[in-house]
Amino acid sequence: MSATTSTPGTTSGTTSGVTSAPAARPRIRTSTAVRAYLAVELRRSLRNRRTLIFSMVMPPVLFLIFGLQGDYANQSAGHGNVTAWIAVSMTLYGAMVTATAGGASVSVERAQGWTRQLRLTPLRPAVYVAVKLAAAMALGAASVLVTLVVAAVTGAQMPATAWVLCALLAWVGSLVFAAFGLFMGYLLPAENVMQILGPVLALLSFAGGLFVPLGDGWWATVAQLFPTYGLAELVHAPLGGELGITAVVNVVAWAVIFSVGAAWRFRKDTARV
């Protein structure tokens, strides 16, 4: 064992039996840690019945309930039919719920003392949050796929490019809600934040026009302020919906607000000593 780079004052041979000079310790590769941690996170998701119901079962079931109503299902909507339109809505909803839950789980684990425990390891807090978000996005991808496959086999029709683009937009767009979950998790002192955020997401989905069309009344104007509005417009754009500048501004603005908020609380939390 070489002790040439040991800390000042530690000479080789003075350490006792079980101890080893710092120089002899393996360099910690972040990739090993990240891969192992991601594997654990994915296994946790698959084991968690509540997560599976909210991410994998509820979105396709909501689609089956609302997307196949006989009267209007086969009417055309843009480049596809109404069924496809609703399938895309539910796909975004599933991705949103999954991402929010993933972000919020950081604060749940903080309340359980897990992040404190992690501070006794070489893992950096930012890498921990990145792992949590990556796992949430992996689960979000599965949620998007499940809902769209169910839609495809039950009569949703739209051009091939629309299928692909809608899936990608819903998936990537849900990152805004990962930041939302992270931010809200830090702000709300609840042990299970999703019991609050779940209903909030459903309300936001109604308010922002994701679940029901906004129509032409005064609400259509107010709705443009909600964080769900921009994403709802964005994911439906490949179907032929008009994508106004308001929607783009909405998505960017809320992405910035949630990310900056989450980063602010995260910094404050990791610096809290």
Binding site: G9, T10, T19, I28, A33, A36, R44, W114, R119, T121
Partner: protein
Amino acid sequence: MTSTSTTTPSAPPALSLRGLRKEFPSSAGPVRAVDGIDLEIAPGEVVAFLGPNGAGKTSTIDMVLGLSTPTAGTVRVFGTDPAEAIAAGRVAAVMQTGGLLRDITVAETVGLTAALFGRTGSPTPYLERAGIADLADRLVGKCSGGQQQRLRFAMALVSEPDLLLLDEPTTGMDVEGRREFWAAIRADAAAGRTVVFATHYLEEADAYADRVVLVSQGRVVADGSTAEVKNLASGRTVSARIDDDGERAAVTVQLRGLPVVDAIDHRGSRLVVRTPDSDVVARFLLTQTTASDLEVASENLEDAFVALTATAATTMDGAS
């Protein structure tokens, strides 16, 4: 009493605290949890950090682990910064509560912790050393408090730390769990690891430590071998009734003048005197005063310990 640490000039101490202070803000002004601790622990020592709840034990451990920064003073772990020592895996800790994910198994928890330290091998050896190999596939949430504590111990082992800190490790454990936990720690410490554990159980310090550091109100009030500290805490109480208020006050002053008197309490018309030499106090009370109804009792260790930490701190407050 003097510190029993024996550091050689070439090797830095396992732990070195200098003028360590920690204040927490509160609505009534800053609360001083740690009030100037100087302490040196040599590699290989097994040290009990003994004190009542609120003595500042956990605050001190948090600073040693780099989980909080001192208001004043310095912490060095093997001559380096706490953060560096953590990153290098030289120091690990078994915390009192929390810090576990309930929905993964015991083996997964230890395997993940090992991976975070860049170790990819099987978690089994660590589970065996902590005595929980048979629980490998159990979900953490289904483990008893004692089992979870041994899991925390297994997690602390994965970096092969040179210094292991245990914060009230057996709180909430039953007698059997406590015995098994300490058996695992003892087996491990025998190999030469430095172990520092916080506890408010005197027996625990007595049974498992080579050296006891007694803390009270954020200060070290005694530091020595287990036997020395036990001697300090092995006094008796003499109590007697003196009905006249004036005389009771006068006797109190006279008793304070006796070298063998540690502390005096008033309980109604009774005087309660703590002393290592009950004969001297009893003779004085019965021959020089009107005291009646005299009782002599040997204190149990727990009472004596509480009395000792309380008086020592009071004396020091008066001196400062």
